[in-house]
């Protein structure tokens, strides 16, 4: 069955943030919000979190270990060759380890970002409202068949009262992004 969404459109980031808060307080499940700019308060209101920093740290540790293992293996095990009287396992490895760690952590962090966010070159998307890329802010609430007409009226009223400039009902686009909140 085709899903129908109620979409509240706002044109001011502050009003929008307050609106999201109000709707959340009224126990209405917000399916998604779209904005042209990052809105930090919305993350708190919707209780969104990301584990990216932890992963980056782990990637950094992996980078250090791999780089050191490679340097040690090439210089001490595979082809031990003295340069300038320095020990085979030299302190100056730190410099390459430092830079290579940044290299590994950067690449893996962005790969994780693209994979988790399901972004890839040439991905086709249909925006729920293209204006949210430019200057509009949108709240998407799914019109669940289990909702009574009073509930729908309540949602519409809440959207209107909180300052929505438009309230639309649209069927969901085929390749709509379902985001798990983890």
């Amino acid at each position: 069955m085709e899903k129908i969404n109620i979409i509240g459109i706002y044109d001011d980031p502050d009003i929008f943030t307050d609106a999201v808060k109000k709707i959340k307080e009224n126990d209405i499940s917000i399916k998604n919000v779209f904005s042209p700019i990052p809105l930090h308060h919305i993350w708190d209101i919707l209780n969104l979190k990301t584990r990216l920093p932890t992963l980056t740290f782990i990637y950094g540790v992996i980078g250090v270990v791999i780089t050191f293992a490679f340097l040690y293996w090439t210089s001490v095990v595979n082809y031990p060759l003295k340069f300038g009287g320095k020990p085979l396992n030299s302190v100056s490895f730190i410099i390459i380890m430092f830079v290579a760690t940044i290299f590994v952590a950067t690449i893996l962090t962005f790969m994780t970002f693209f994979i988790r966010q399901k972004l890839w070159p040439g991905k086709k998307v249909v925006m729920i409202d293209p204006r949210t890329m430019d200057d509009k802010f949108a709240i998407v609430i799914e019109k669940d068949p289990s909702l009574s007409s009073q509930d729908i009226d309540k949602i519409n009223k809440l959207l209107k009262d909180s300052g929505a400039v438009e309230i639309n009902e649209k069927p969901e686009p085929d390749n709509y992004i379902e985001e798990e909140n983890d």
Partner: protein, 460 residues
């Protein structure tokens, strides 16, 4: 609030988000670029043609076509390499350091500075490869499994550290630049009317839609890369300086080199940003976004860095005397302050330490023309700094029997002109096809800036 009172308004004219998109995308959405654009492209292609000729001669005949000799083995190749890498530090300096310092005025400039970084680092990378003489053997610098033992590269050599650092830096700055553009590409995708444009920018935008979770991950990833790249910037130019400082050549063998090079790099990078932004705001009518207060802020940073540069030059001279080393004393006093390379030395001092001091005067800071001229002087001065460091020390070291002079040949000069052409071409293409101001970031700073105190700063 702190940055508002000092900086004035960041975006002038009470813009709305829609106006910001319209203004910044105007050159991109124009049917055809203006005539001067084609003319500029033509000039840059001529320059690149000259550079390609120089590269052809270098590869076909050999490194003997350059002015370098057994003693001054590093000439234009390394001077220009260090110069371009220095310019390449601007993007990261803007994006990362000002991000960490929470300077909101970076938003109108960071995109252009990052683009500059990527092109400048590509230009820089060409020189060491050409300097090898046998460019087809450039692959030898990478540690790969080979049939010569396997014989690995020398991991204790600063020259190899350079390879690692420059490649990492190019990768990190390119990724940072590209990922920052994804939301703007998505905006162009949604606004595009022609099918080609829609599909090209759709491809580039990676299917970005701007959900709250997406923005959270986007911002987190950007901040993480910022945190990773800040030490990288310091490391890259420190490592470049170690190419010199780990040798025993008088004038190079000093511990001041890493900080001195890092500061010098940021100085030349900011100088180039200033040159570029003054042209951009004029040509593309971005005066509302790159305001006089932005230029003023850069000028203030430059006057401070210029003081550090002056201190570094003085310290070098002082240490040459205080260390009691005859060779150091000779290099600095007889071969730089006086002697064959006096002109280069005093050009460096004048352009880097003295002329930027004019920025102390508000009158000078507020004259766009003077700021532009001084920024050009900084670019020239920083080039001469690298000339002084590379050439003077090598030309006269320990044995007088080994003394030699260096002057660049036309082949070397033409390769340098070629890289200037590549840089200009990169920037021109970028201005035509990519939003040169980060639109989503500008929209993010509209609220707390434009609305407050707009009238007070209307004159800015």
């Amino acid at each position: 609030m702190y940055n508002i009172d000092i900086r004035g308004v960041l975006v002038k004219g009470n813009k709305t988000c829609a106006q910001v998109s319209d203004d910044i995308l105007r050159p991109l959405e124009a049917k055809s670029p203006p005539m001067w654009w084609y003319f500029a492209i033509f000039i840059t292609l001529m320059m690149i043609g000259l550079g390609l000729w120089g590269i052809y001669v270098t590869i076909d005949t050999g490194i003997g076509t350059w002015g370098v000799n057994n003693n001054v083995a590093w000439g234009f190749g390394i001077i220009n390499f260090v110069w371009w890498i220095g310019i390449g530090h601007a993007g990261t300096a803007f994006s990362i350091f000002l991000l960490i310092l929470r300077q909101k005025w970076r938003s109108s400039i960071n995109r252009a500075a990052e683009a500059m970084t990527v092109v400048a680092v590509i230009c820089a990378g060409m020189f060491p490869m050409l300097h090898m003489g046998r460019i087809w053997d450039a692959i030898f610098v990478f540690p790969y499994w080979n049939t010569r033992g396997p014989l690995w590269v020398n991991f204790n050599s600063p020259l190899f550290w350079d390879v690692v650092a420059i490649s990492t830096y190019l990768m990190a700055s390119a990724v940072f630049w590209y990922v920052g553009m994804i939301p703007d590409f998505a905006l162009i995708r949604e606004r595009a009317t022609s099918r080609i444009k829609k599909s090209v920018y759709g491809f580039l935008s990676f299917g970005w839609v701007g959900t709250a979770k997406g923005w959270l991950r986007f911002e987190t990833a950007s901040l993480l890369l910022g945190g990773l790249a800040a030490p990288l910037v310091i490391a890259v130019h420190s490592i470049v300086s170690m190419d010199f400082a780990t040798s025993i050549v008088p004038g190079w063998h000093t511990t001041i080199f890493p900080p001195y090079f890092v500061i010098g790099a940021i100085f030349s990078g900011f100088g180039m940003v200033l040159t570029l932004m003054i042209i951009v705001r004029k040509v593309f009518k971005y005066e509302d976004y790159v305001t006089r207060s932005h230029l003023d802020a850069i000028a203030r940073i430059l006057v401070f860095i210029s003081l550090i540069m002056g201190t570094a030059y003085t310290t070098e001279l002082f240490v040459a005397w205080y260390s009691g080393g005859d060779y150091e004393m000779f290099t600095f006093m007889k071969n730089r302050v006086t002697g064959e390379y006096t002109f280069a030395f005093w050009t460096m001092i004048t352009c880097n330490a003295f002329i930027p001091q004019l920025f102390w005067f508000k009158k000078i800071r507020s004259s766009i023309l003077l700021v532009f001229i001084i920024s050009i002087f900084i670019n020239i001065g920083m080039w001469f700094e690298r000339y002084v460091i590379v050439v003077t020390s090598l030309s006269k070291d320990f044995l007088p029997a080994m003394w030699a002079s260096y002057s660049a040949t036309f082949v070397e000069v033409s390769i340098f002109i070629g890289t200037l052409g590549i840089f200009a071409l990169g920037i021109l293409l970028f201005f035509r096809y990519i939003p040169m101001i980060a639109i989503s970031e500008i929209k993010g700073i509209l609220k707390p800036t434009s609305i407050l105190k707009n009238d007070d700063h209307g004159k800015n």
